[in-house]
């Protein structure tokens, strides 16, 4: 298949050259499978096989793109697509800056992240995985929801500047299992991320779900008084907040457009807690990494924050062109963010619950519907969901109804940070909008932050 894809792209390149056109061609193929569970049944079992070709045409400072969903037999349709993109570029308005057309100096092929056993995992095995993950945990009131999303993703790119091409192929799986009480409406969840089939861990999910279920079925629920709490965030919550910094944090283009709480003057300054070290690390396979960016630039571990000190902004090629900044290898569809672990020797929820504590701790594993209230101040808002616990200082546990946090990331990752667990996990952040694009952020299993304000507290589940 790879040969056929490359051959097709090369033929399209020759076609563009024959017409004296400057184009960049990006091929995306996904073979996606998703089983969705709801009310303890499979509510949808779906698969899509889609091939997309995106053609970007350049005419000096003019640029336009045309995308089509197609298949490899439709070479004439693809050529017409090139004609369309070229025509669009010819009639468009020039940019005020010179857009860079990628120049691949060598062919680069990366299939390290592809495991055919995961990419082609059968319907039966996926169902069996879920059956194992929730065996004995469901009943008339406790119902299963969730997804098992898996598939293969192929990207290939070539342009008229060189005959070299880039080719990336990955497999991935994202699993979410939710057990909810039909009448009381509480929910607990466990999640998984896999790049190869050996990383599927139904037993771990079952263990996490069983523990949370026991707490939710036996511990008293309560409405939390408003005020300040010491909060321990789980991996989903931490990964979500880290991901938001892609937008309002270290993105150079958005900073230039006034949409960041960081400024150029803060490069080299201490912004966050000394416990906070974040990097973009394409050497971590759990993040479905790109080892070259889409302009052909080699990607190496890129420090973003070192012990709280801001190391610098990342720049896509287009932003770099517009703002005369050096491209940093970040013309990619996702980064490989890694928040380094700390010193706390706690790696599982059972351990966290058993840990001695000097005051109450609010455990928030997941933040629902996060949004940006004020980008300049890094203020976000979101609600707790999926298995929050109030770990009381007397060693007992209560179940808090959901609460809302409206807080600045500068506070959350700043000096209020008390500790990070030593143990880290990849948290799958993939979204299935548009093209398949598996992503994960590696974060400490737990992150404790003191004195965070709860601005709303539900009176029931």
């Amino acid at each position: 298949m790879k040969d056929r894809i490359v051959h097709t792209l090369q033929e399209l390149r020759r076609y563009a050259l024959s017409k004296d056109c400057e184009v960049a061609l990006s091929y995306h193929e996904e073979d996606s499978y998703l089983i969705r569970f709801a009310n303890s049944a499979i509510s949808l079992n779906t698969n899509e096989h889609l091939i997309r070709l995106e053609i970007t045409a350049y005419a000096d400072k003019r640029r336009a793109s045309y995308a089509l969903i197609t298949n490899l037999d439709e070479i004439d349709e693809m050529k017409r697509g090139i004609d369309t993109a070229v025509d669009m570029a010819a009639h468009t308005q020039p940019l005020a800056y010179q857009p860079t057309i990628p120049l691949f100096s060598e062919t680069f092929i990366d299939e390290d992240g592809y495991d055919p056993d995961l990419a082609q995992i059968s319907n039966t095995r996926r169902l069996e995985y879920f059956n194992q993950a929730v065996r004995g945990l469901e009943n008339d009131q406790i119902r299963l929801s969730g997804i098992f999303s898996s598939g293969a993703n192929t990207l290939a790119m070539i342009n008229t500047r060189s005959e070299h091409f880039q080719y990336f192929k990955t497999s991935d799986a994202q699993v979410t299992a939710v057990l909810s009480h039909e009448r009381l409406k509480w929910e607990v969840s466990a999640e998984g991320s896999a790049q190869n089939v050996s990383e599927l861990e139904p037993a771990r999910l079952r263990s996490e779900l069983r523990f949370l279920l026991e707490r939710y079925q036996n511990d008293a629920a309560q409405q939390l008084p408003l005020g300040k709490y010491d909060i321990v965030f789980g991996p989903a919550a931490t990964a979500d907040m880290i991901s938001f910094m892609n937008w309002i944090g270290f993105n150079g283009g958005l900073m230039k457009r006034g949409f960041s709480f960081l400024s150029e003057e803060q490069v080299g300054e201490k912004v966050f807690s000394a416990k906070f070290t974040l990097l973009d690390d394409p050497d971590r396979p759990e993040t479905f990494p790109f080892k070259r960016d889409f302009t052909g630039m080699e990607r190496r571990p890129f420090p973003l924050f070192q012990r709280g000190v801001f190391q610098g902004f990342v720049w896509s090629q287009d932003d770099a062109d517009e703002f005369s900044a050096p491209p940093s290898g970040h013309t990619v569809s996702h980064k490989s963010l890694v928040l380094q672990g700390g010193e706390a020797p706690v790696s599982a929820l059972e351990e966290l619950v058993r840990m001695p504590r000097e005051n109450d701790l609010l455990y928030i594993p997941f933040l629902h519907y996060m949004n940006i209230v004020n980008p300049s101040k890094g203020i976000i808002t979101a609600s707790s969901r999926f298995g929050a616990l109030l770990l009381k200082k007397d060693g007992t546990v209560a179940i808090p109804y959901n609460v809302r946090l409206t807080q600045s990331l500068l506070d959350i990752f700043g000096d209020r940070m008390a500790w990070l667990s030593k143990s880290c996990v990849p948290y799958n952040t993939s979204q299935s909008y548009e093209k398949r694009n598996p992503t994960a952020v590696i974060v400490p299993v737990f992150m404790r932050v003191n004195d965070l304000e709860i601005s709303h507290s539900n009176a029931s589940y």
């Binding site: 969903i69 800056y97 319907n123 039909e182 629902h368 949004n371 004020n374 808002t381 809302r404 709303h456």
Partner: protein
């Protein structure tokens, strides 16, 4: 093509499927143009075609889709296989509400196909708007246009054959400025529709955009020098630019029947509404009447027939404050009626939609509208407000997982004291609990304040689907609302 599809529908039905449908997209075109600070940053078009197959077997759904129609039989077989596997885990076998087998066509009202308009004309419009936005105080200026045109052919094993040609036009202007502390503040105008307008290129009226360009620059500059929004309880007067989102998030999503029945629990969330609530829950004050109206001619929430093959309807959701209806499709109404042990829903509400040929349909909003009231114009409402704030423009929104509480940030606020607008404030926010908030609805503007706002990016479902829809809303006032937090 349709002949081949019908042969396979019959074949799969004959092999034991309860129901089969197919959505063939001969084409879906999109065109997006974005001018940012004078640079045409985006000039992109796309075209796709393909086929999506849905099979119901032993009470379970299977779905399969592809752009490659050379092996159509295999695609149908794959969907059938997927349904067979799903049938191994069924707790409430899917049943579909009765419907008429329709042979019908729908074309959205459009005078000028936006895809027939030369690129140069579109770019000239954006350049003109960009120049209008390029004023003192403006740090970032954006103007964009988004066009969709899709041809959908639907056929099912019950004999339906429906053809749709839908055109949508979206456009917006946005400016951002920096205040003296370097904080950014944005103000935006989005194409909204008034009266009996249509949905083609003609809906982008240059004069209206020019006036609004001037207005948003002026208002943004007022925000830049304003004080922060106070933290206190006030009456909030929501203009359509935020009222549409309040309606979307706390009525629309809360009343999607699949959410109520737990089909989104692993992702988008549930709803505080239960089946017992229909017919009795006081959702809002007596001034609140809301509907899912798929019959509005000039909105992306109107599409003729849904992807179950059911004609769009105008369904009352909330009648003078009492919850009476939901956003429904064929599957969910059957399940809800059985689980409630009474007939809440008399057939499908025609709201089951898929965002593309490669996604399976789910309950989606049509036009979730608030009926205009009898409290006059915005000026009339301000005149009788003692201590309030007028809010407009969405800046941030976040809603609890059961839609029970919310936090919104808006672009601008105007304080109202003793019936007079006194001053502009920056960083306005408000929050509340859904039922308490809607029950505090005290004034509803008349027809003069009512406009259809569109949403072109409503996300829901797994795999995710981004849908277009609308909200016809008036100016509304809510009392004793917490602002500024």
């Amino acid at each position: 093509m349709l002949g081949q599809i019908k042969e396979h529908l019959e074949r799969i039905k004959g092999a034991g499927a309860t129901y089969v449908d197919a959505r063939w997209y001969p084409f879906e075109q999109q065109n997006y143009l974005l001018m940012w600070n004078g640079n045409l940053k985006q000039n992109s078009s796309s075209r796709e075609s393909g086929l999506g197959i849905r099979v119901l077997y032993n009470g379970a759904w299977g779905f399969s889709a592809s752009s490659d129609l050379s092996s159509m039989g295999a695609l149908f077989d794959k969907a059938f296989d997927n349904a067979r596997l799903a049938a191994e885990r069924v707790t409430f076998p899917v049943r579909l509400a009765e419907k008429d087998a329709l042979q019908a066509k729908f074309t959205s009202p459009s005078n000028i196909d936006p895809f027939s308009v030369p690129l140069a004309e579109k770019v000239a419009f954006l350049r003109d708007m960009d120049e209008k936005l390029n004023q003192k105080g403006v740090f970032q200026r954006m103007s964009d246009m988004f066009f969709i045109r899709k041809h959908i052919v639907f056929a099912d094993s019950e004999g339906s054959e429906i053809e749709k040609l839908i055109t949508e036009v979206f456009a917006s202007l946005q400016v951002t400025g920096l205040d003296s502390q370097g904080e950014s503040h944005k103000r935006e105008y989005r194409l909204a529709r008034h009266g009996a307008s249509t949905r083609g290129w003609e809906s982008i009226e240059r004069q209206r955009f020019s006036e609004n360009a001037e207005r948003i620059v002026k208002e943004m500059n007022q925000v830049l020098v304003a004080d922060d929004c106070p933290k206190e309880d006030r009456s909030v007067i929501l203009l359509p630019g935020i009222m549409y989102l309040q309606t979307h998030e706390t009525i629309g999503h809360a009343l999607e029947l699949d959410r109520i029945l737990g089909y989104e629990l692993a992702y988008a969330g549930g709803s505080f509404v239960t089946l017992e609530d229909f017919g009795s829950l006081r959702y809002g004050s007596a001034k609140l009447s809301a509907r899912a109206d798929g019959s509005l001619p000039n909105s992306p929430g109107s599409f003729g027939y849904d992807d179950d093959g059911v004609a769009c309807k105008n369904t009352v959701l909330i009648d003078k404050g009492i919850l009476v209806g939901a956003i429904t499709g064929r599957q969910m109404v059957e399940e809800a009626n059985v689980k409630a042990k009474r007939t809440i829903f008399d057939g499908s509400g025609g709201c089951n939609r898929a965002a593309s040929f490669y996604r399976a349909p789910i309950e989606r909003m049509t036009n979730i509208n608030i009926d205009p009231g009898e409290d006059g114009s915005l000026e009339d409402i301000v005149r009788i407000t003692e201590k309030g704030i007028i809010l407009d423009g969405d800046r941030s929104w976040s809603i609890g997982s059961n839609r029970e509480q919310f936090h919104f940030g808006t672009e601008i606020g105007w304080l109202v004291e003793d019936g007079q607008i006194t001053r502009v404030v920056r960083n306005p926010t408000y929050k509340g609990e859904t039922l308490k908030f809607w029950n505090s609805l005290s004034k509803v503007g008349d027809e003069s304040t009512w406009e259809v706002a569109y949403v072109d990016n409503c996300g829901k479902g797994q795999p995710n689907q981004v849908m277009q829809l609308g909200h016809g809303v008036p100016v509304c006032r809510f009392d004793n609302v917490r602002i500024g937090e």
